[in-house]
C-alpha cells in the first residue's frame, strides 16, 4: 500500500512555546490513524497545519503528492475536516447545510444521499439547532465528505456523546475508511483508539513518543515487564451500560 500522507519534521512555535516539535509520520490509503496525547501535547496544532488552517514553521506535509504549504487551495479539495466542536449557522435546514458546503466546492450533490449515509434523512427539513449532539456530529461528518475527499480529519469526534452515539459514530468512521478514505483522528478515549485505529501516534510536549499498532504498543509495554493488578474481568461497566440500555441510538427526539 502506498502512503497517502507524508509528514516530515513538522514544527510550529507560539511565542516561546514549541507547540509542535519535529513530528514525522505517514498514513496509508484507507488507514485509520489516531493521534493521542494529553491536552496541550500539540495534536490539534498538528492537524491544523495539515488542514492548511495554520502556517507551517518548518517541515513538510505531502498529501497524495501535493505539498500543503505550497498548494493549499488544491489541498482543500482533497481533504475533509471535522473540527473539534462543529457548528453551523442556525435557521438553516439540514439539506441546506449540505447544499451550502457542496457549493463551497462549486459542486451540486444529491443532498438526500449524504443525509441517508448518516441516518439523518428524515431530519432533512429540520433546522440545525434542533439536532442533538450526536446528530450534529453525524451531520458534520457527512458535510465534510460532500466533495469526495481522499483524507478525512476528525478532532475529538466523540467528546461529550453518550455511549450509544459514540458506537454509532465508530461505525460511521469505519464506513468512511471502507470507501478508501484515509482517516486521521485525535481522541482522549483509549477504548476508542483501541477499537478504531489501525495505528496510533502518542504525542507529548509537541513530540511523538511512540508510534505503532495498538496491539504492538501494548505488547511492548508488557515486554518491558509491566504488570497490571490481576483481576481479569469478563466485562466492564460500559458493557453493563450497553446491556441495560441497548445499542439503539437515542437521538430520534
Amino acid at each position: 500500500m502506498t502512503n497517502m500522507i507524508e509528514v516530515r519534521d513538522l514544527k510550529k512555535r507560539y511565542g516561546d512555546k514549541q507547540a509542535v516539535d519535529g513530528v514525522s509520520f505517514s498514513v496509508k490509503k484507507g488507514e485509520i490513524f489516531g493521534i493521542l496525547g494529553p491536552n496541550g501535547a500539540g495534536k490539534t496544532t498538528t492537524l491544523e497545519m495539515m488542514e492548511t488552517l495554520r502556517p507551517i514553521d518548518s517541515g513538510t506535509v505531502i498529501i497524495d503528492g501535493v505539498d500543503v504549504a505550497k498548494n493549499p487551495q488544491k489541498i482543500k479539495y482533497m481533504i475533509g475536516v471535522q473540527p473539534q466542536s462543529p457548528a453551523f449557522q442556525d435557521k438553516t435546514k439540514l439539506k441546506e447545510v449540505i447544499e451550502l458546503f457542496a457549493a463551497a466546492y462549486g459542486e451540486k450533490v444529491d443532498v438526500m444521499k449524504f443525509l441517508r449515509d448518516v441516518d439523518l434523512e428524515e431530519k432533512a427539513d429540520s433546522y440545525y439547532e434542533s439536532l442533538s449532539g450526536g446528530q450534529k456530529q453525524r451531520l458534520s461528518i457527512t458535510t465534510a465528505l460532500v466533495h469526495g475527499p481522499k483524507v478525512f480529519f476528525l478532532d475529538e469526534p466523540t467528546t461529550g456523546l453518550d455511549p450509544q452515539a459514540r458506537r454509532h459514530l465508530w461505525e460511521l468512521i469505519e464506513d468512511v475508511r471502507k470507501r478508501g478514505i484515509s482517516v486521521i483522528m485525535t481522541t482522549h478515549y483509549m477504548d476508542e483508539a483501541e477499537v478504531l485505529c489501525d495505528r496510533i501516534a502518542v504525542m507529548d510536549n509537541g513530540k511523538i513518543v511512540a508510534i505503532d499498532t495498538p496491539k504492538n504498543l501494548i505488547k511492548q509495554l508488557l515486554g518491558r515487564g509491566f504488570k497490571k493488578d490481576q483481576h481479569v474481568e469478563q466485562a466492564n461497566l460500559e458493557d453493563v451500560f450497553i446491556d441495560l440500555t441497548g445499542k439503539g441510538l437515542r437521538d430520534h427526539s
Binding site: K76, P83, A87, Q89, K91, L100, F101, A104, G106, E107
Partner: protein, 370 residues
Amino acid sequence: MNKKSLYTIYIFFKINTKRVFRDKTALFFTIGFPLIFLFVFGSLNSGTNDLSFKVAVLNQSQTSFSKDFVSELEGGDVFKVNQDVSDLDSAKEKMSHSEIDATIVLPDSFGSVAPGEKYPSGQIKVIYTQNNQQSASALVSLLDAQLKGINAGFVDTQVPFTVAGEQLNENSLSSFDYSFAGLLGFSIIGMGIFGPINVFPELKKMGILRRLSTTPIKVWQYFMATMAGQAAVGLISMSIMFAVALSIFNLHMVGNWFELAAFLIIGIITILGIGLALGGWAKNERQVAPLANIIVFPMMFLSGTFFPRFLMPEWLQTVSSFLPLTPIIDGIRLITTEGRHFIDILPQLGLIGAWIVVIYIIAFRVFRWE
C-alpha cells in the same frame, strides 16, 4: 470568474437570504426598526405644516357673547386652548416656559351692550412674553381678522382694499420629503453596518467561518454572496418604507424607480463594505463595538440622516460632504424629490465609487476567518 464560482455565490446568497426571513430578530432590525423611525419622523414632520397657537384664555366677562366667543376659539383648529390656566399668574409661568404662546384676556365688560348702543363691544387683550413676539403678533392679526368678521355682522362697512392668499400645489418639498432620504440612509447604516458587526463575531466565536475556511471558498465569493443578500433584503425593506411614505405621509416621488433602485443598491453595497471590514476584522463583539460607534455616529449625524446638512456651519458642510453616506443620501434625495438622472448626479456617483474602492480594499485586507 467561472461558472462554479458563480454557483457557489448563488447558493450562499440563496440560503443566507432565506435565513433572514426565518429569523424574527433580523427581520425586526432590517424592516421593523426603520419603519418605526419612519412613523416617528413622519408624524413629527406632518404636524409642522399647520399653523396653530397654544393659548390660555382668561374670560373675565359673564356675557353670553363672550362665552360664545370662547367656545368658538376652543372649537377651531387654530387655537389649542390650555384648560389648566385659571389666572394670570399661572398663565405667566406657562408663557415663560413656552408651554403656551400667549394669553387671551377677555375683560369683564367684554361683549356687554353699553348704554345707548345697539350692539355689544369690547377689547381683547393679548398678553405675551418677549420670547413669543412673533407668534403673538400673528395671533393679534388673526384675532383682528376674526373680529372684523364679527363687526361686519353688526355694522355695514365698505372695504376698498382686501388681500387673498392662494396656495400653489406645484412640486413643493415638504420637510418630510427632505428627511425621507435621510431615513433611508439610516436604514442603510442599520443593515450594512450593525448587521455584519453583530453576525460576524458570532460566526467566528462558533467556529462557523473557520469551518468554511477549510473549504476552497474565497473571501471575495463570500463577500459577493453577502452583498447580493443585503441588496435583496435592503430593496425589500426600502420598498416597504416607500409604500408607507407614499400612502401615509404623501411623499413626492418624481424620479425614475429603476434608477432609484440601482442607486440604492450601490448605496447599500458601499455601506455594507464598512460593516464587512469591521465585522470581518473583529475577533469578538467587544472589540468591534467602540470602533463601530466612532465611525457610525459621526457619519449618521453629519451626513444628514436626521437633520439637513444646510443647517450646519459652512466648514462642517464641506467636511461632511466627503463622508461616504453623504453622497448616498444626497443622491437618493435628488432622484426622489427632484427627478434627477444618473447623468445629473455624477459627482455623487464618483465620490461613492472612490469610497467603494477604498472600503473594500480595507475589508479584504483585514478579513479573518477566525
